[in-house]
Symmetry: C2
Subunit: 449 residues, 2 copies
Amino acid sequence: MRVVVIGSGAGGLTVASNLRKYSKEVEITVFTMEDKVAYSPCAIPYVIGGDIDSFEEIVMHTPEYYGKHGINIVTESEVLEVASSQNLIKYRLINGDESAPELITLKYDYLVIATGGYPFIPPVEGNDLEGVFKVRTIEDGAKIKEWSKTSSKAVIVGAGAIGLELGYGLKQIGIEVSVTEMLPQVLPRSLDPDMALKVQEYLEGQGVRIILNNALTKIVGVDVAEEAVVGDIKMDADLVILSTGVRPSIELAKQAGCNIGDMGVVVNERMETSVSNIYAVGDCVEVHDGITGQKTLSPFGTTAVRQGKVAAKNLAGKDAVFRPVLNSVVSKIGELEVGAVGLTEESAKMNGIEVVVGKSQALTRARYYPGCKPIDTKLICGLDGTILGCQIIAKETVAERVDTMAMAIAKQVKCNEITEMEFSYAPPVSMVVDPAVMAAEDALKKLSS
Amino acid sequence: MRVVVIGSGAGGLTVASNLRKYSKEVEITVFTMEDKVAYSPCAIPYVIGGDIDSFEEIVMHTPEYYGKHGINIVTESEVLEVASSQNLIKYRLINGDESAPELITLKYDYLVIATGGYPFIPPVEGNDLEGVFKVRTIEDGAKIKEWSKTSSKAVIVGAGAIGLELGYGLKQIGIEVSVTEMLPQVLPRSLDPDMALKVQEYLEGQGVRIILNNALTKIVGVDVAEEAVVGDIKMDADLVILSTGVRPSIELAKQAGCNIGDMGVVVNERMETSVSNIYAVGDCVEVHDGITGQKTLSPFGTTAVRQGKVAAKNLAGKDAVFRPVLNSVVSKIGELEVGAVGLTEESAKMNGIEVVVGKSQALTRARYYPGCKPIDTKLICGLDGTILGCQIIAKETVAERVDTMAMAIAKQVKCNEITEMEFSYAPPVSMVVDPAVMAAEDALKKLSS
């Protein structure tokens, strides 16, 4: 049996390595347009900002490593066609002579489409100037890092997690930074405006300029970027980074005849597409929201890994399903950890779900223990008290606290259960009453009034 | 209505302050033998070790503060009698002339017994010498801190959390320390031997001597301690600390006619004793184990707080219940955070529950992110995969990870659900596959084989 995987991101490589665990016989070939595989794209801003010394460090394994484990990775290759009726793909090597691309044909028994996403580039004048970068691959990151050595003024377009992480990172290495966002807040996908303001104020306190409510109009320069214009605000910029979101790469799946939904490639809970021997995983597929039931995207490494495991099990004849998502996220922006899971207050409203909100301002450790840090917690609860969402900001332990709330949301825990829950306590590491309990008590007050 | 509370620990004061929130009219009087209230006993080892500058810092509020909020705290007083048939108590002030204790009578409408626990003192020769200390109150702590200034060799009897925290703390201030334990491991109540060994090795690496399998035989000295003998091992010791556990203080409850169980004062889930207008909360009561259903103790500040809230609500005419416990615990021993919740492998065996164990050795953050630390995770699962217990050791984020597993155990989550769960991910704060997921996968392998 031969399994062909298109894409070497978290999704594709998880399928490959898990499938190899279950079966020594199956032949596994992975195609990727890149020359490096098994790296963490989420770490790119931290290499640029200097927290991590080099891009080499964020690469976990080489293609040769996979080769030794019986996974054939064809780097710098482009799959141009999927002929699903004949169970074959056609690809070419792009590391050779580009002018004479020889098409090579490969048969498959099962195909896994893990083509990921591509960065959305705002269709404005000057988006192709030198000094204008997208940020998706390790190669993009290396180019930005190199360019930043001679840069003094950067404009980052898009105030999502990557944009803010990069903003802090570039400021850290001495560059004057503006982050711009067309929406009226930073982190619009994961935070409500009240919580987003705390992140904004932190970054402004660190000297990063934040411009909201303005979309990129154009980039000005002769060959090289000199100025970025958002709305009608002009800013000198010798470095412009477009972190304006990612779109699912669905072309190959479409060509293969797979159903495409409003958001991405349609898969069932076994990660099978509508074509019987084709699976799809990762940023290219659409998933269901665990609370609203609606179709959504979940372009996160963790989601890709979980989907890859499910696909691998099913390919190996086992039985596994991928559940609707809550989209747990966390980001480290400077010293600040920002995390969220489930619905925001805003997204609840947009979905017509009535909610109450509970908030707390507390500390990560006992008040008197050196190093304790302020922590802001916001819980979003349905009118029956069920926790539907959570947002947390602090300088430590946010990811783990979000995970506890993710577990609570997944198990449909109610506010009063949170207040009764046993949070572990020792003064050097926690408060005697957990910040989440305080937020739940705040929500309960509103529910009972 | 007058509510009398005996005891000003976490349980007693939580009843008082929560009851005041619900009712401005009720008269609340709290009796305590101490002169300080509202401090955190769990913080005492960290003041002794110097992490916290002084005992003043761990006191949250003064008696006067409570007085201003309409809670009358009678410090340095001893309640000698509860005459429940007449709804009255008799007490004396012990801060005055001890030779002429005047008994004062006070009527109550409701009584709350929050008498806590008393330290068990091994009945051996020399346990009353100078230089021999128990560690329960802030006064005990202050005495130890004072004595430690001229001490060079300490023996701590009992390798529970307090004993180990103190052991590290005294070593930190330059004292040669041995911690002794009659059982064959450190932290016998919360960890299995394999995990306990990691804590032991860490402490030994820090220069703390650990002696297992030996109970205290005697303490030798003329007026002042000079030597501690455990089993037949003699050790020079000018400071001996008995951290040999706590027993529920049940005398007043017994005298009041409340039913006493095998472990402590019997209460229903409303925190009512068998006497109709008497409640009991905190270390003096027995509770039910959330997994085995058996009676147990839960002598933790967090438990006392949760019980105090339940009692206050019921006293205020609301309706609240206290659920069986999982005994989430966490301790910081040097740089090490050690946490546990639910059953250990050993306690499962003792209860005749067949389990499988899943373990992982992982990192707290991405491998390449500076400051990532090793983390050991152990999950204990029933044969149907249900998570019954968890033990975690690392130098950060243990408390919060234990809380996630506490939520999982409370909601009877199974191993396969853990592997499917959405843990939040960003390289600076987490691994793409959570250590708990790795441990759950390890357990699943054993369950399916």
